[in-house]
Subunit: 314 residues, 2 copies
C-alpha cells in the first residue's frame, strides 16, 4: 500500500466493551467498563483518503461516514494527520444500539484505538477520547466522556473535568453487574431534556457526600460503604419515570442482596451491583419475576466490571 505510515501491520481487530455511564450519584462523571458484551471492529489502513464503513451485523446503521459514529470519530482523527491515508472499518456490533450500555461509545472508542495502533500509537489516550467524543456527539447530541473513557481505559473512570479533559482511574473490588434491558427506546437527548436545569443546594450536598462516599468505598474495598453511597437524589427520581417498573426493580434487587444500582447511561437499561455471582443471579431472578408479567420484551445478563478497555486481538 502506498502510504507513508510505517507499521508492521495494516489491519487490526479490536474488541470494544459495553460501558455504564452515570454511575448513580456520579451523573456525567463516573462510568465503568463491562466484561461483556463487546463490539468487534476490524480496521484497515488504506491509501484512499477518508473512511469506509462496512456493517457486518443486522443493525443497519448508516454507512455514510459523517452520519456514523465510527466515521465521525475517524474523520476527526484524520484531520490531525498530514499523510494521504484513510481507514476501512468492518463493524460487527453485539452491543445493541440504544440499549444504554455505551453502544455508540464502543464503536467510537474501538475505532480510534484500533486506528491509533495502525499509526504507531501517535496519539495519547486523551487525544483518542477527544476524537471518539466527536463520534459520540453524532449519536447522543452531546459530548460526554463517561462511556468513552471507561471503554478506552477499562475499570471505573472519573471524568473530573471535560475541559481540559482530566480522566482518573478508580480501583474497585470485584463487582458483579446484573443488567436489565427493557426493549423500549429512550433517546439520550430526551432523557437529557427532562432534567431540571437547577437543583437545590441541599440535594447537591447530599449527592456530593454520596459520590465522595462511593469513591472512598471503592478505594477501601468496602462493599457496605459502596452500597450506602449508591444513592442518586437528583437524576434518578426524574429519569426513572421513563423506565417501566424502575422503582420495583430497584427495591426487589436490593431485597435480593444487590448493593444498589440505577439507570445505565440515560436508559433504558438498568444495572445492579452485587459482591458475588450468586447474589447477582438472585438479583437477575428477582428482575425476571417482575418483568415477565409486564408484557414487554426484555433481556437480562450478568457480567462484571472489567479492568479491560478496548482490546487489540490481532
Amino acid at each position: 500500500m502506498a502510504t507513508t505510515i510505517k507499521n508492521k501491520k495494516n489491519e487490526v481487530t479490536v474488541l470494544a466493551p459495553a460501558t455504564v455511564a452515570n454511575m448513580v450519584c456520579g451523573f456525567d462523571v463516573l462510568g465503568f467498563a463491562l466484561a461483556g458484551p463487546y463490539d468487534k471492529l476490524l480496521i484497515r489502513l488504506t491509501s484512499k483518503k477518508g473512511v469506509t464503513i462496512i456493517n457486518k451485523d443486522g443493525y443497519n446503521l448508516p454507512t455514510q461516514p459523517k452520519k456514523n459514529v465510527i466515521g465521525v470519530a475517524l474523520l476527526s482523527m484524520l484531520e490531525q494527520i498530514k499523510e494521504d491515508i484513510g481507514f476501512e472499518v468492518e463493524s460487527t456490533k453485539t452491543i445493541k444500539p440504544g440499549s444504554g450500555i455505551g453502544s455508540s461509545a464502543a464503536s467510537a472508542a474501538g475505532a480510534v484505538v484500533g486506528a491509533n495502533y495502525l499509526l504507531n500509537n501517535r496519539f495519547s489516550n486523551e487525544e483518542l477520547i477527544e476524537f471518539a467524543l466527536c463520534g459520540e456527539e453524532v449519536a447522543s447530541g452531546s459530548k460526554h466522556a463517561d462511556n468513552i473513557a471507561p471503554c478506552i481505559y477499562g475499570g471505573i473512570t472519573l471524568i473530573r473535568s471535560t475541559s481540559p479533559l482530566d480522566i482518573i482511574t478508580i480501583p474497585s473490588p470485584l463487582l458483579y453487574v446484573t443488567i436489565l434491558h427493557p426493549q423500549i427506546e429512550v433517546k439520550t437527548s430526551d432523557a437529557r431534556e427532562i432534567l431540571r436545569k437547577t437543583i437545590t443546594l441541599k440535594d447537591a450536598v447530599t449527592q456530593w457526600g454520596n459520590i465522595a462516599g462511593l469513591v472512598s468505598g471503592l478505594f477501601k474495598n468496602d462493599y457496605d460503604l459502596i452500597g450506602r453511597s449508591l444513592v442518586d437524589v437528583i437524576v434518578e427520581p426524574v429519569r426513572s419515570m421513563l423506565i417501566p417498573y424502575f422503582d420495583e426493580v430497584k427495591k426487589q434487587s436490593i431485597a435480593a442482596g444487590a448493593l444498589g444500582g440505577g439507570i445505565s447511561g440515560s436508559g433504558p437499561s438498568i444495572f445492579m451491583l452485587s459482591k458475588d455471582e450468586v447474589t447477582a443471579k438472585k438479583v437477575q431472578l428477582a428482575i425476571i419475576n417482575i418483568y415477565k408479567n409486564v408484557g414487554m420484551d426484555f433481556h437480562t445478563h450478568i457480567t462484571t466490571i472489567s479492568n479491560n478497555g478496548v482490546k487489540l486481538i490481532d
Copy 2:
C-alpha cells in the same frame, strides 16, 4: 465522691484540635484536623447534677451551661445517663472563638470525649458526635458535623450523611497548611444566609467531579490531582466576598506553590495546602505581603493536617 460511676479517675485533661470544615469542593461534608492550635479542657466528674464551667482564658465566654457550647454538649450527654452525676470543666481556649477553625467544635468535642472517658467510654463516637452537635448548634445556629467529626476522629473526614450519621475517614499524604486569620468577624449564620438555595445542575456536576477527584487524589497520594481538584464553583464565589483580598491571597498562594485552598469553615480564616514546609512558608510570606498593606490586624501560622483527634493527656 459519691457517684455510682466506677472509674480509676475522676478527672481528665484533653487537648482538642482546631479543624477546617468545608474543604473547598467538600462544602458541608469534608473537614480535617490541624496539628495546632488546640484547646485544653480539664473535666471532672462530680456528684452534683448538671454542668459547671470555669473559663481559664481571656475570652469571657458565657459560663451558664445552656449558653455555652461545652455546657449544652455535656447536658445532652447527661440526659442519656440515669445516675446523679455532673461535670465540672476548666476550659483553656487557644483557638480564638469566631476565627473559623472550629473553636466551638473543639470545646464541644473535647468536653464529650473527656466526659466519656470518665464514664468508661460508654458512648460510641457517633453518639459523642450527636452530643457535640447540640453544642455546636448553640454557636453556629445549625448542626453541621464537618468540624466535630475531624476533631474527634483526626485526619480528613467525610460526613456522607448526617441522618443517619455516616462518618468516613479518608487517608491523606502529608499536607502542610498555611492559615490566615484576618481579624474580622464573619458570623456563621450570616455566611450561611448569603448562599443561594438553588444552583445549576452544571455547576453541581463540576463540583462533584472535583470532590471525587479530591478524594481519589488523597487515596492515591497524588498531589497534582489534589491540587487540580481543589476547586469550588458554588460556595467560594459567594462567600469569598466577605473576606478582604480573598482572590489575591488565593492567587498569590498558588503562585508561591500552594496546591490550593479556600475558606476555612464559613471564614474569616483562609487555609492553603502545600506538599512541604518550605512551600508552606513561601505561601505564608506571600500572604503577609498582601495583608501587611491592608490596614487590618491579621494572624498567620503554619501547621499540618493531623491524624490526631481529641487527645487525652492525663
